[in-house]
Symmetry: C2
Subunit: 514 residues, 2 copies
Amino acid sequence: MTAMPRRSAGRSGGRAARVAARAAALSDDMRPIRPGMTGGQYRPLTDMQMARIHETALAALEEIGLADAPQSGIDAMTAAGAVLGDDGRLRFPRSLVEDTLAKCCKNLTLFSRDQRHDLDLGGSKVHYGTAGAAVHMVDVDGRNYRESTLQDLHDASRIANTLDNIHFVQRPMVARDITNNLEMDLNTIYACCAGTTKNIGTSFSDPSHVEDCLEMLYMIAGGEDKWRERPFVTNSNCFVVPPLRFATESCETMEICIKGGMPVLLLAACMAGATAPSTIAGAIAQTVAECLAGLVYVNAIKPGHPAIFGTWPFGLDLRTGAMSVGSGEQALLSAGCAQMHQYYGLPGGAAGGASDSKLPDMQAGWEQMCSNVMAGLSGLNMVYEAAGMHASLLGFCHESLILGDDLIGQAQRCVRGIEVDDETLALDQMREVCLNGPSHYLGTDATLSRMQTDHVYPFLGDRTSPKEWEEKSKPDLLKNAVARKEEILATPSEARFDPALDAALRARFNIHLS
Amino acid sequence: MTAMPRRSAGRSGGRAARVAARAAALSDDMRPIRPGMTGGQYRPLTDMQMARIHETALAALEEIGLADAPQSGIDAMTAAGAVLGDDGRLRFPRSLVEDTLAKCCKNLTLFSRDQRHDLDLGGSKVHYGTAGAAVHMVDVDGRNYRESTLQDLHDASRIANTLDNIHFVQRPMVARDITNNLEMDLNTIYACCAGTTKNIGTSFSDPSHVEDCLEMLYMIAGGEDKWRERPFVTNSNCFVVPPLRFATESCETMEICIKGGMPVLLLAACMAGATAPSTIAGAIAQTVAECLAGLVYVNAIKPGHPAIFGTWPFGLDLRTGAMSVGSGEQALLSAGCAQMHQYYGLPGGAAGGASDSKLPDMQAGWEQMCSNVMAGLSGLNMVYEAAGMHASLLGFCHESLILGDDLIGQAQRCVRGIEVDDETLALDQMREVCLNGPSHYLGTDATLSRMQTDHVYPFLGDRTSPKEWEEKSKPDLLKNAVARKEEILATPSEARFDPALDAALRARFNIHLS
């Protein structure tokens, strides 16, 4: 095959040249992919099927309702029109749900400390990011699982900050080396914010921790007013214990977050076959019902408060009763949810991209791509768990996060889709090349001019021929990921705090990160 | 988490038990997935965009036409209405293409020696299989590439025969240990047919070889009439040299195949950016034009002869000019082609599932899943290259083929999609479980009864917890694939020839397989 004129970042330049070329990022208008591209070309549900899921959710809310709301939530929701039954369950008349859907926040921007990373969750715009909460760190070199630490979390945040295709950082793992829960919550925020300027998600282990955490966020933002203007941390809130029960303490946490101006991810995480029906339609219907209840709750506390419709049904391996997140069923669960978000016109999120495999091996690759690309094509606004997540959410892996950037890049290219116009149909080029030209398109203006804008080139993914591969001593994907990790972590983070702020934070809070 | 009652194939039984359970295959009505499930939920092209691609293809055929048809083809096609220009190019009036589309074969069944494996290519029914032609064999243990042999090909065919989710076997690699091309063609058929009773695809290196090969096929079928009744081998025919030139000799081969009753795969394999426009729309439009020309050709020779519309545009890494098959662009090329097949109502095929990676690593997993699941969701009838294919089609890997069976199983589960009805919406179950029941669905009749029919369980894919994984000495995906390969190849093939037939074949032809 005739070789193309090589660009400076071509293979001939070797790894250092490639890294340098990558560092000199493409200007925004040249980039083939970007955060917030529009999906929706894949529709696993028909309009009629969506309507039936909606009707089932309304019936569940009206007839079954949710148990275990805290008194403050009962007060707010009954004032809004919910009905408390003798059985302690709060039921939601259809009109209350419909009113809520009419008045709730629909156009949601998630902010970031660097506004280049703000996320517009309108329409079917797709964003990928991490989520948690793993309790293990995957050591690729040693093929080993160990308890995750605050430093691991900070490193993950720093790595994610450098990766173009990781658009937000919900804290992917638990700092298990901090035994005091309040200090863990505070240090989680510190470790994430000191690592990335992208939008962050976190949770709180107790309602009583929120005030202190808000104080830290006000300091980082430069004051409460600045925080409220552009809140850059979202509360990932598991407000339900499926099926159809409120998680009492988490709801109390949510109320405080709402008052503190923090956007809320209404995270309803069931397991299909255990805490939800085993069928995909049933699990989606129940989870939609739960999130609708959450939406009523949020809007009863503060109308229009920013909330993400977080339908997170997970799969289950029914042979063993263990959670399973890498299956086709999982990909369908999340893609179906994305369509329901669009049905309501709500900003939404679900899980995609997690693997059951313990290591970043071939299984991890196919599992992560399956749900990631389907989530993107279905137009899911927030694809949580999109990179680095292993062992059915129990393990997080830095190297896999780095490889996930490549993987998600290809998924995003798929979301971008196929442009059809006179220029791309290229009849003129065909005429010229076939009737007068060289019978190939390698050097046409059109080919050369679109070389960067149309194509997503992998960073670590290998495209060499077997011969080149041998000449390069058979590069190993995981070893290269380890090397890139070390390179990223050897470079000071652009997200790190100003020294004065850092000193103030350390004076006020017990920061475990050295 | 509460454990489910374990089925006999559960984890507790270990590998031997699982293998045994798998061997006792589910009855057809119990299987969660099967060949020929209907895709089409993913539509990368709008109706208007398809019409524009069609118009562009018609314009290319009318204005540019194709060069280099053999005289026999010129005679047949001009008799049908094509116009030979002074420049030697054959041009196709719109009416000729439309007439051909009206009368060509649309309902195509590909036969197999065991009719359980027949493939119905109607509608958007999806089938996955291998294709070629790799020239290297990937040695996973040694991380090495070596020349592929006839024995490798036979082993691939035998392995594919045992894998539920590999629905056909186009010969994936070239027997490079046979230097005589006629003997290579003959031995390729022998090695494939002796390994699998599934539908087979092959090509011929010279038109003069077809007669001998047909003779072999008549013998295997038990006579020419039996062959013509159920031809179980398809001619994979690269009838064009893109852009828009007929491959003269391949066309002559095609004519002989048609006369011999062999279905034809009209395989137009361009590379976007080299032998077709670099844009996805342009590459699809040109390839569609070429296949329409091929369809005119086939029907001019024999109206209604079975042909597969083989639009196979491949990607290119424009930085190096090397072929690239693992990208998002590739997945879009093939999915867009699938929609064009449906636009015409034609049985069609394209490439999906090939990887640029040299080994079955994480990259291979994400690349193979990306194009495989998108091909399935777009309703591609024949997904060629779906398993085992590495190094941008240069290498084939037995272990990857085996792992591909798991991968495709999950992709097929996605193609099956989401069933929405009263039973799956499960409002009754929600009521029962929440209001009167145990607050979980683990033991409900619905969960238990759908445990097999709704869920695709991986065979080698690992879903253990980190703790179980350690207790099992950290099973390695590739080592397990090697073990399964050895197990399959240690078992006599059910496809092997009756001894009398085998003796007759060996008496008539120089069979290199011992």
